[in-house]
Assembly symmetry: C2
């Protein structure tokens, strides 16, 4: 027998991940739409609010919920600061409204309600007794007439009035109050949601053929990165590369003289995760690069690859962090079917895990201290989930600006788990989603299920590890198409250039690997060459920066087109001040035509209402009046991004 | 930093209601199918079990889970005792299997695995060190050859062997073990799932016109109830009926001389909830009735209506259990739009709620002591949810056989909540589901969603409160149809007779109430009259008792029929030892024909495989060989219940 247990039941509070175990994610100034089922026994009138506060706020803010059908209630609140917010539902029986509801029904039923008027006085008195109650005089008058037979007619008029209803509703006396469990939102800076990444290998940055690029060379390329519209420059590991078991070109296990090895084979006699490869430069060069990049509105993202070449200093200094076999060796790393003979995995079950975790955290803090605020994490799914939860929490507590991108090309549930444990963004299967059906199904999964609350997708058409079959030897149109898809479907995107924009997509036969991959060798590019693909990428990136509808991922509605080579969708920002319609052809050889159905309901218009569509690439404007409209796309420019004006 | 936190994540454990807040429900010897997502970082081989135990068991039983696609695992366990069971998931990394998996891949890759064999010795030694390890000699031999260069060929053969795999798999060394939250099942006696109810008003049981029936008269009707195949006889309240504000015939507010009042207006100068209406007899008569009923394999179910007539003894003895208004009155009960002027609601927010709850519990315990084990609870949705949770828990702790049926004709979420809080069974919306689409949609909701875990439906074609429009003045075929639907779709069913079997379904104009309702007056029946409807009800009830497929509700698959007046479904018991195909026409005027599609996949047969269908009413047998088969039903016998023989 529990005293004072509320008669109210609150259940099915959404959003909520794993029964509240994990926080949901937002960026600054986003909205959290909360819903819950709120019940009371019997027929009493209840009300409910969402209470929310930032971790540094002392008091809860309150926003009243609105009842929907089937005992569901909802409300929204906005998060305007970085860090953690808490939110919970509060619900109560509103006896004053209850009383009014009852008396109105009786008056309408022509009953004599003297007794009910007397009953009502207590609810009036409750508010009169409150300090600073602005309707005090009105209520004193009501108390007088409710108790006075002579003013019965006036009393019942006032008892039924909307005025009284609104005063009661806005000054609830919360009784038998129930609360839901407290849930959490973590709020990131806006870049967590909207970012445009460019990846290149610093060692391929030299102007001169056959010369190992340096961090200084990278500075030279910053204006190009900025000009193309990228705001994040992600560099594969820049640390010393192991000399023991070093990989040769094209992933051969025997390096030849002069082979530079895999950048992910971190550590050598020149140092480990806190050191810079001597051929790239030194720490001052790196700090200068970070600084220069910021001047170009570009942030440098570092790679965080927790593994060690056999000659990484940790192997000698902390042998307990590796798992030694009876024959005195450590089994090299694998990510089946891939073998990394040049890399030793860390032994996460080490007894000395406390020092290991601290050392891993130190690495991050060191680079954060140098000015880095974005990390792309290599193979996070081969390290314990609770380690990620711990280290991300540690970093964000002091450095809330820091973002983590999970390279989790693995099983869906594992990828999701990393998002739940705290990763800011995740690589996705977009890289392999090529047909219209696959793309729509995958984007619906990301944006229309709970995944939208904890996994922020980052769409990459290619990476140094993945040269997808559909891009191998693909033409310019196919490259434009894949970039347009990534950049309009997802607000976080990236490409591994310059192989992408120069379409150097020759693969190893039968595998999704690049031939002569930069992972294992230095490549020379003439970075000054311009081409149409670069122009289109630049233009698309400009459009993304100008149109908020494309700076978010979840507000998307696919439109019906009776052509499996045409994909069309409508996107909007929360305030609907920015709305776009995107149509992309998946055919890189022939023209495709079709009738596109406008989502009139979502657009909030009726059939016949004209809308102006401006193609943001060509600046042509079309007026569409009907629900169904003809489109035709040619491989030379296989997409439309229309700005919608109603 | 949490020491020893497992690398394993267990999530999405099902079944689970409100994050484990409520138990799921089963009856004795049912199966619980458990599934969960189980993950580890990296590529280690993991294993998992469901652990379960009855509340009186000391130790957990274990059943190993089987991996499905997408990191989902499942297993089943059976509950063979009444009361609470707990279940949880246990998962671990299996290093021995991990080792074997690794060495097999290397051997297949033609690698020299001397080092791996040495590594393997530790896993062999672990088991050799265990007491009573039945493969000790084999393992000692393996340890010898694994460490002996000369027997390398034999060693790698054995290392790869299925024999070794099975031994490791069956003797797991559970390391880094993770556990899910503990969840609960409550197990009832079988009647919670399979019951056939008959309801009549004891005061209408007399043989003589114009005479108030008695409990003794009811004894006379027991053979009839048994013969018709009912196992539960539910009596509306048998307590003294209030004399103050007593209702007249047809729910009029002014009773005339001789009016008997509503049976739900409980309490008068003759007593309250623990007393028997003097016109019905006394407590000994009631005990005799309970006893006699048991001899006929019929259980008496009582009504539990927590409310009071204005002259109920509680009103004077415990005025604090009612809410008094300023004018010294208590507002009568309402269940909008219904008004109960003859009933005072209990004030659940009373300061004296502890004594109130105890008094409510005493009522149940008193009748349980008299031999009652089933209660039909009147309007449970107007009493606090936590009160029901408490009182049902209290009763079941001492009297696990007791069952509670919720009369919750209210909002869906409220109905569901009562199920979650502990009600054994619930009335449903079946009473109003009439078209094929409505019926299928509703049954799918009950049997294919989480509702199946906590809400056991009880299908009633009619009740004293609900004379549905489709039965008012309906013909015999319609009555047969509604009974056949209820009795084959749901394993718990009931009718309010004799109005049902005698088709006395005249309604109040425009309302779903009976004209001259027995709620407010005594009715005379000639209980000896037989008719075709009684014959059909009797036959259907026999079939239900003989065929386990019809003794459960959830194993159901609707079959496609291209006719909106024909509904067809396949049902089976868990072991599939009982399988039926039911086809019912919804047309009570004309013949209906259609092609029924057999669910070949669920039946486990291929097209062309003949099955024998025996009509359990007519005993005719048909052989069907094809997926699609012709059926025709005429209003005279508008259904088939086929026993399936493959």
């Amino acid at each position: 027998m529990q005293k004072n247990q509320s008669r109210i039941v609150i259940e099915d509070v959404r959003p909520q991940i794993n029964c509240g175990e994990f926080y949901i994610k937002r960026v600054v100034n986003e909205i959290v739409n909360v819903s819950a089922v709120v019940l009371v026994d019997g027929h009493d009138i209840i009300a409910s609010s969402v209470l929310y506060k930032h971790e540094k706020d002392k008091n809860w803010s309150e926003t009243r919920m609105t009842p929907q059908h089937n005992n569901e209630w909802n409300a929204s609140f906005s998060v305007d600061k970085q860090g953690y917010y808490s939110y919970k539902i509060e619900a109560w029986v509103d006896y004053a409204l209850n009383w009014q509801h009852g008396i109105i029904r009786k008056i309408q039923d022509n009953q004599y309600v003297k007794s009910e008027l007397l009953e009502g006085i207590q609810f009036l008195q409750n508010l009169v007794d409150e300090e600073n109650f602005e309707e005090k005089n009105y209520f004193l008058h009501l108390i007088y007439i409710f108790g006075n037979e002579a003013s019965y007619d006036e009393a019942i008029r006032e008892a039924m009035s909307d005025r009284l209803h609104h005063i009661f509703a806005n000054h609830p006396k919360k009784l038998l109050t129930a609360y839901s469990k407290e849930l959490k939102v973590y709020v990131d800076r806006v870049k967590a949601r909207f970012s445009t990444w460019y990846e290149f290998f610093p060692r391929s940055s030299s102007e001169h053929y056959g010369v190992h690029g340096t961090l200084k060379d990278c500075e030279r390329l910053l204006p190009r990165v900025q000009r193309m519209g990228f705001d994040t420059l992600y560099l594969p590991p820049i640390h010393p590369i192991g000399e023991v078991n070093r990989k040769g070109k094209n992933n051969t296990t025997t390096a030849e003289q002069g082979d530079v090895g895999s950048t992910w084979g971190v550590g050598s006699r020149f140092g480990g995760h806190k050191d810079i490869h001597p051929d790239l430069g030194n720490i001052d060069d790196f700090k200068a690069l970070i600084h220069k990049a910021k001047e170009h509105n570009v942030e440098i993202a570092m790679d965080y690859a927790l593994q060690a070449a056999p000659d990484h200093p940790w192997v000698k200094e902390h042998p307990q962090w590796f798992k030694w076999r009876p024959d005195g060796t450590v089994q090299y790393a694998e990510n089946p079917p891939k073998k990394y003979q040049d890399i030793l995995p860390i032994y996460w079950e080490s007894e000395d895990y406390v020092n290991l975790w601290k050392a891993c955290l130190d690495i991050l803090l060191y680079w954060i201290d140098c000015g880095i605020e974005i990390f792309r994490v290599d193979n996070p799914h081969t390290k314990p989930y609770h380690f990620w939860n711990w280290i991300i929490t540690q970093v964000k507590a002091k450095h809330p600006n820091v973002l983590f991108l999970a390279e989790a090309f693995t099983a869906p549930k594992v990828m999701h788990q990393l998002g739940k444990q705290g990763y800011t963004q995740s690589y996705t299967y977009f890289t392999w989603r090529n047909s219209k059906h696959e793309i729509i199904e995958y984007v619906e999964e990301l944006t229309k299920t709970d995944q939208k609350e904890y996994m922020r997708p980052n769409f990459w058409p290619n990476t140094p590890d993945i040269n997808p079959h559909h891009l191998q030897g693909a033409n310019e149109s196919k490259h434009i198409q894949r970039y347009a898809l990534a950049a309009t479907l997802s607000s976080n995107i990236g490409i591994y250039g310059p192989v992408f924009e120069y379409m150097k997509s020759e693969g190893l036969i039968g595998r999704e690997e690049y031939l002569n991959s930069e992972k294992f060798q230095v490549t020379h590019y003439d970075w000054n060459v311009e081409n149409k693909l670069i122009t289109v990428i630049t233009k698309i990136n400009q459009i993304r920066h100008q149109h908020e509808a494309l700076q978010q991922t979840n507000n998307i509605k696919f439109c019906y087109v009776e052509n499996s080579n045409l994909i069309a969708f409508y996107k909007w920002n929360d305030s609907k001040s920015s709305e776009v319609l995107v149509i992309i052809s998946l055919d890189d050889h022939s023209s495709q035509q079709g009738m596109v159905q406008l989502p009139l309901g979502d657009l909030g218009i009726n059939n016949g209402h004209p809308i102006a569509l401006t193609d943001l690439i060509t600046s042509n404007t079309y007026t569409w009046k009907d629900e169904w409209n003809f489109v035709e796309l040619h491989p030379t420019l296989p997409f439309h991004i229309f700005k919608i004006k109603k």
